[in-house]
């Protein structure tokens, strides 16, 4: 009965959508990279960098949307480094991705220490406020959950649609998907596999950074070390779970966030109080692994994922 009450409460679904939002951005970003044939393990560090860059920009006087733009640019910069090493040079996407995560994380922490050498607790900014969309937000249950979120959450949902349209209904998306499936098909038409893949990684990394920025500018209003806390790795699992399709990835992210919101609420029930809190904190990671196992048999992996393309290879 308890569980039923929770699942029918608007606040539960509002929380689920909020938890899902950063995952949606970052999962979309990873999906774009992988659809073009590049696994981007820089995601975790890029989210950290985005979280810091956006928050710092606002803290130093920029507008909120300016902060989002700064975060995006920071992500794109790391995407540029990643794609330069993995695409024309064809270096191991595993090694480079982990290297980017380390680089982005350590640069962020370095910058944080330089910018705020003395503080014991980080300063707060005025974050994005929920915006109630007239009429729609009055709908029962989903009204509160879907239409009284912050503008950044709305942007996440808009982006899912946008990415779907681009991938499936434009020449650019066609070329991107082909680059991830059989790059020689792209090269044979005189298009640049290098350009497409680098572009995908750069833009995808930008989205990842916005996902990070959501944490500091919408979910919370401050920056903490370890605040990304493995969300990037979870998004990689969500891409697999979503079978490399934006719509399914969105559903996966919401499903996942609902579980996360649920465990937070169960923790607060008398039943949950008897279970060590660590068990609850493990749930997202365990769920991700289960999702990977469940999807392993029927996932439609882009055929050229992680396969470098060397033009005119003889």
């Amino acid at each position: 009965m308890d569980l039923f009450d929770i699942l029918l409460s608007a606040s539960f679904w509002t929380a689920a959508i909020r938890i899902a939002s950063p995952l949606i951005f970052a999962t979309l970003g990873e999906l774009i990279c992988e659809r073009a044939g590049v696994l981007n393990l820089g995601i975790e560090g890029i989210m950290v960098a985005g979280a810091f860059a956006g928050w710092m920009a606002v803290y130093s006087g920029m507008g909120l949307w300016g902060g989002v733009a700064v975060a995006m640019l920071a992500g794109m910069m790391f995407g540029l480094i990643h794609s330069t090493l993995t695409v024309p040079f064809g270096l191991s996407q595993h090694v480079v991705g982990l290297g980017i995560t380390l680089l982005a994380t350590s640069l962020t922490y370095y910058a944080y220490r330089l910018a705020l050498p003395e503080v014991t607790s980080p300063p707060k900014i005025t974050a994005f406020k929920p915006y109630e969309i007239p009429v729609l937000s009055d709908l029962p249950l989903i009204g509160q959950a879907l239409f009284s979120q912050t503008p950044l959450t709305y942007l996440a949902f808009v982006l899912v649609g946008l990415v779907s349209v681009v991938l499936y209904r434009t020449p650019l998306g066609l070329a991107l998907r082909a680059a991830g499936e059989n790059p020689s098909a792209v090269a044979a038409q005189g298009l640049s596999v290098t350009g497409l893949r680098m572009g995908a990684v750069i833009f995808g990394s930008g989205f990842m950074a916005v996902g990070g920025a959501f944490l500091t500018m919408s979910a919370f209003d401050s920056f903490f070390f370890e605040m990304v806390n493995g969300r990037g790795w979870i998004c990689i699992a969500l891409v697999v779970f979503g079978a490399w399709k934006p719509g399914k990835a969105l559903l996966g992210a919401i499903l996942f966030a609902a579980f996360d919101a649920l465990q937070i609420r169960i923790q607060q029930t008398p039943l949950g109080a008897n279970i060590p809190y660590q068990v609850f904190l493990m749930m997202p990671y365990l769920l991700s692994i289960l999702a990977l196992i469940a999807m392993s048999r029927r996932a439609e992996v882009p055929a050229a994922l992680m396969v470098p393309f060397n033009k005119g290879e003889r």
Partner: protein
């Protein structure tokens, strides 16, 4: 068809030279193609045909020389220039994305990337129109991954025609086709020529060159060595021009069949994606015979080779060695049972590119004495054995410590031959053993297969090259969709008759007859 004296020149290559380090891939190569003409570009592997086409398509930049299309010089190194000028290429390895539809593959790259929509309806109409004009039937909305090889090639041709190509270049287009599909392709090409297109046909199959082309140009070691009107040559003189000497294929005496060494009885294996498994297939390999397996690629050859090679087990039916059912079956069991396995792809499965010759030579024997004892390697012994293979099989290399990726295909194959034949196996499984080799290496491999037969081995030769099968085999089977034809004695069938079986006809009657 073409009248080279008067017709307009649509494509001209002027003294193209291209070097890769010490290798001169193209040495001042010139050619011209006229409107409505089919020219054949003939040459062995490594003669420089592919490099020449890569230069035409801007994938490489020539060291010197120019490319002119319809009288205009193409800027070097620009992959779009040739496409935009009306040259279409049908690649040997299809450049198609399997997870997309025919239509999506065809329109890929034909519109500005920044355009908002795809305009599928317009594209579909144009594809259907072209398909009708050129007799290229294919469903625009089918997923490419689900198409047959012949259909995929039609998509490749459609791609070129869709962008209004006036010049079609086909790189080894018949390698993957049945004789009947080849006839269909030629039909399409004749239609194209009648509509004013021009064709460059790259091949090393002499009878096809004779059948389709007006003029033939011969490349050898990067040089254009001869140009002939097709009426002035025959197959034999073309072969001589291609290799630079009179060809002497090994003289093949019939074998003397002995006892059965390996038998498959009603074996079925599951399909692997697009590749069919075996469908209740029975086959016996006898001592002292070469059994040839003809068929279009992707019709169950891989399933059969995997089964005999120990990589898979029969789902149904039995695999017998010396008339006894094999128990446990693995690559190692296969090797222990005396099966020599020459794999289809020597780069991917036959060797490990970054291992040296020694490490590659012991891949199948490293786990037993004398190469190792109780888990400890004996590298001295391994090196000695490798040196023996190098000497016996004439592997040209700096030494057993050389990384094998630095060897030519022929020398790589000789090392594989040495690895599997040194132990005098009773059964030889040769899967496409000469693919991509030059004539010298081809003859070497064939003579090794023949000497294995002579000492009483049962040889299974799997090849897509009907000429090779017919030249070497004592008995010929055809495989299609995982089913096996009856065995035909050597010289009892013409290529055309075998082609009927390769296209999948005759099996139903055979089954009805059997039951």
């Amino acid at each position: 068809m073409g009248n080279s004296g008067e017709a307009q020149v649509v494509l001209r290559l002027n003294a193209i030279t291209k070097t890769f380090g010490a290798l001169t891939a193209n040495d001042a190569v010139s050619l011209s193609l006229h409107k409505g003409e089919v020219i054949a570009l003939l040459g062995e592997n490594g003669a420089g045909k592919t490099t020449l086409m890569n230069i035409l398509f801007g994938q490489y930049t020539a060291d010197s020389g120019t490319v002119e299309v319809f009288g205009r010089e193409l800027p070097p190194g620009n992959p779009r220039a040739a496409l935009d000028a009306g040259v279409g290429m049908v690649h040997q390895h299809f450049t198609l994305a399997d997870n997309m539809t025919v239509l999506e593959n065809v329109i890929l790259g034909t519109q500005s990337l920044w355009k908002p929509g795809l305009n599928r309806a317009v594209a579909r109409d144009k594809i259907n129109e072209l398909a009708a004009d050129f007799r290229l039937s294919v469903d625009p909305d089918a997923r490419v991954g689900a198409l047959t090889v012949g259909e995929r090639q039609r998509v490749e041709i459609l791609k070129a025609l869709y962008r209004d190509a006036r010049i079609l270049i086909l790189d080894e287009p018949t390698a993957v086709l049945t004789p009947q599909e080849t006839d269909d392709l030629f039909e399409t090409l004749r239609k194209a020529v009648a509509l004013g297109l021009s064709v460059v046909f790259i091949s090393h199959k002499l009878h096809e060159v004779m059948a389709i082309s007006d003029r033939v140009l011969i490349l050898r070691h990067g040089k254009m060595v001869a140009e002939r009107n097709i009426l002035d040559v025959d197959k034999h003189s073309l072969a001589a021009l291609m290799v630079g000497a009179e060809v002497s294929a090994p003289k093949v005496e019939p074998g003397t069949p002995g006892s059965p060494l390996l038998s498959l009885r009603n074996v079925t294996t599951p399909d692997q994606g697009n590749a069919p498994g075996l469908k209740s297939l029975s086959l016996t390999l006898r001592a002292g015979t070469i059994t040839g397996l003809a068929g279009v690629s992707g019709n169950g050859q891989a399933a059969l080779a995997d089964l005999i090679g120990g990589l898979t087990r029969p789902a149904n039916g039995t695999l017998e060695l010396d008339s006894a059912d094999v128990g446990h079956w693995s690559p190692r069991e296969a090797v222990h049972s005396g099966i020599a396995r020459i794999p289809e792809d020597r780069h991917k499965t036959g060797t490990i590119a970054d291992f040296n010759l020694t490490e590659n030579a012991i891949l199948e024997t490293y786990h037993q004495p004398p190469m190792s004892r109780r888990g400890w390697m004996n590298w001295g012994e391994a090196q000695r054995a490798t040196q023996h293979i190098i000497d016996t099989y004439d592997v040209r290399c700096p030494g057993p410590g050389t990384r094998i990726r630095l060897l030519s295909g022929g020398n790589m194959q000789k090392l594989i031959l040495g690895r599997v034949l040194e132990a005098e196996p009773r059964i030889v499984l040769a899967n496409q053993p000469v693919r991509g080799l030059d004539i010298g290496a081809v003859n070497y491999v064939h003579s090794e297969l023949l000497s294995a037969r002579k000492r009483g081995a049962a040889v299974l030769l799997i090849s897509e090259d009907l000429d090779e099968i017919m030249a070497l085999s004592d008995v010929i089977y055809v495989i299609s969709e995982g089913r096996l034809s009856p065995g035909f004695a050597r010289d009892s069938m013409t290529p055309a008759e075998l082609g009927v079986w390769m296209a999948g006809h005759g099996f139903e009657a055979e089954q009805a007859h059997a039951s």
